[in-house]
Amino acid sequence: MLQPSSAVERRAARIASTRRALAAALAWALGIGVIGNARAQSPPDIRPLHEADAADLAAGKRLYAAQCALCHGMDGSGGYGPSLLLPVLARAADDGGLLKVVDQGIPNLMPAYGNANGPRRTWQLAAYVRSLGAGSAATVVPGDAGRGKVLYQERGCAACHVLDGTGRAFGPDLSSIGAQRGPGYIKQALLEPSARVPEGHVVVTAKPKDAGSVRGVRISEDVFWVYVRDPAGRVHRYWKSDLEALEREAGASLMPSYGPQRSATEVDDLVAYLSGLRGQR
């Protein structure tokens, strides 16, 4: 006898409904109107990923630990898979891209658990992944962004950072730092730069056998060569066996702390300004 509500059919129906819900979520995230509606209607539990609340992030964290940590590390810093702490993810630059990857995986690289998770859990997982790079969930920024902008100029940040095409490129480009990192992360980076060393800014000291030492940022290294950019911006290339030593300083930063000589208000103002930077990437 036919079983109209067989497990197979129930599963098929569930998958179809999952697919519809997710398609709607993706369409919403990508800013595409749902066909037939003058205005897009957002599904009830689909919001921009940065709006996830503590409960969503906790649920996402559990899923992350079970399904993602294996390759991306418990904290997202990478392993067999790439780091998820980068300011912009290569295959998931925006909400839609991230939802798609978490839902559908990447052929031949990353498995798809979207069907197993369903749309709500997929969204929570994506929100948690997004929060990893931001450093913290969105919080209210108490400072004055206008004053922060003036401080950015006065305090000489442009001596090491590019903002909208202007400044010296020694540290990271800050043009869209507010979209990439949360205020908590930015504040910590100002007060305690060594706690937030961005990828690709490892500090090394090269000690040639026949010349003075150079301390700077390692911009390239292989088995035989190392390239170091000193704080003046000069690039030094060394054949490694010509060096007496090449010291790598894990967790060191060449950025001076903004903390000791500035008021708390000043730090908040600068955080407010930087958090609002969402320029072109």
């Binding site: 559990r62 630990a65 079970a66 399904q67 940590a69 294996l70 390759c71 590390g73 418990m74 904290d75 810093s77 990478g78 392993g79 067999y80 898979g81 990447i106 052929p107 031949n108 690289l109 990353m110 498995p111 798809a112 658990y113 197993a116 060393v197 490892v202 290294e221 292989d222 088995v223 035989f224 066996s241 790598r248 894990a250 967790g251």
Partner: protein, 540 residues
Amino acid sequence: MKNMMAVAAGVVALGTVLAGQVPYSRIVTAAKEPGAWLTYNGTYDGQRHSTLTELTTANVSQLQPAWVYQVTGDGSVETSPIVVDGRMYVTEPPTTVTALDPRNGRTLWSYKRPMPSDLRLIGFPATNRGVAILDDLVYVGSLDGSLIALDAETGAKRWETKVADNGTGHSITMAPLAIDGRIVVGISGGEAGIRGFVDAYHPKTGARLWRTYTVPVAGEPGVETWAGDSWKNGAGATWLTGSYDPELKLLYWGTGNPGPDWNGDIRKGDNLYTSSVLALDADTGKMKWYFQYTPHDVHDWDANQIQILADLQIGGRARKTLVTANRNGFYYVLDRTTGEFLHAAAYAKQTWAKGIDAKGRPEVLPNTEPSAEGTLVYPSLQGSTNWPSPSYSPQTGLFYVPVREMGSYYFKTDVEYEAGMPFTGGGERRLADEAWGAVRALDAKTGATVWDFKLPSPSWSGVLSTAGGLVFSGSNEGNVYALDAKTGAALWQFQTGGLVRSNPVTYLVEGRQHVSVSAGRAVFAFAVPQPATTTAGPRP
């Protein structure tokens, strides 16, 4: 008659292009045919050592790329080529086999296995580490869990047989091992709660001849080392090619972590036969002996490393030994006839064991288990070494191993088994900024470091040694290089521009020694350029 002569001459001239028969008798004596590379590690003993001597410490600095082959599919390129009778067989992700002309890298045929859209790769990217050859067939394991036999001359599929279901996370990335009348293959899925096994198949028909599980079931000996029914998802994957002693007729196969990887609470006990080496009768698959490197492993320290078979003088006595550098940071010497533990020594930084006792059991230090808040332990999850092949040179008596010097915070989480989903119970946070790597030469008898060639990051490249006194390897930063096998001094290097995550091989092409290794998305072949000729144009 004249025309026929011309045709015959053409065939003779192309003689090396015809794929020949590669019977077992050739593979078992592969050491006497160093111009070819006939099995995953060159010889059944897993030594990855070549007796070719054209390339030496004196002339290796002249090595240059002879050709480059660009790989097509997405995934990780980890192929270890087979080279024989004018063919080089390489594999590409996801499961593609390509036959190249080793003279110029031109494609002769390519077999591309279509992959299902819901392919489950739990814990690794799409990859394939190589083929096996026997008689006129080439064998490849597929990511979706099948063993496939291809015509060595044309690439035509002769048969395929399903090894296991990919829906439950089973997959094949390893190169099969071809022995007399058997194609032996293992299985991946150690992060999916599978029950591991080693299989043997009939070379001509694909019929399964035996299967030996790595985890016992209720009623079998060893099941008492698993709390409750935790053996059901006990893992013990067999995802790397084993070694073979044709005289003892024993296969030596490494087994992977118990499941779940980092939460050992639900599987109290030693968890036999995970993180072990199994000695299996080649005819029946019956386990002759086992040795468990890491009882009750909670760090994902698979024993899926190459188990090298070497004859060493131990305690003034010639012994048939099995030597291996394990993922857990220790180097082991076992008697391969009996499984008797002979010796162990740490070869890389490790903080989890005080040492290895007289019976070979690690003396585990307290507070080294994964925890909710994270426990710092060396080595990291990927271990002090991993699947990339080490090499043993009988000339130097040294064991050359690619080393990963890195620690990790290990985390433990709750976990429940769900078919086809990760079954891991935790993870790691790596100390990547301070990590480094090396090619390390160990005294094969003691495991003591003789020299160390440092790398900027933990290595994913295998090692090849040659009778020319050379050691070849690669780096994550794209270098392929040759070292002096006695001193570790660098003699040659080439920047390939891509991560080297494969094993180098060496062979002859028209009498000239070549070295091949893949890097990034390409397979490279290197040789000393021929002296300039008067022939104009690009034809060599």
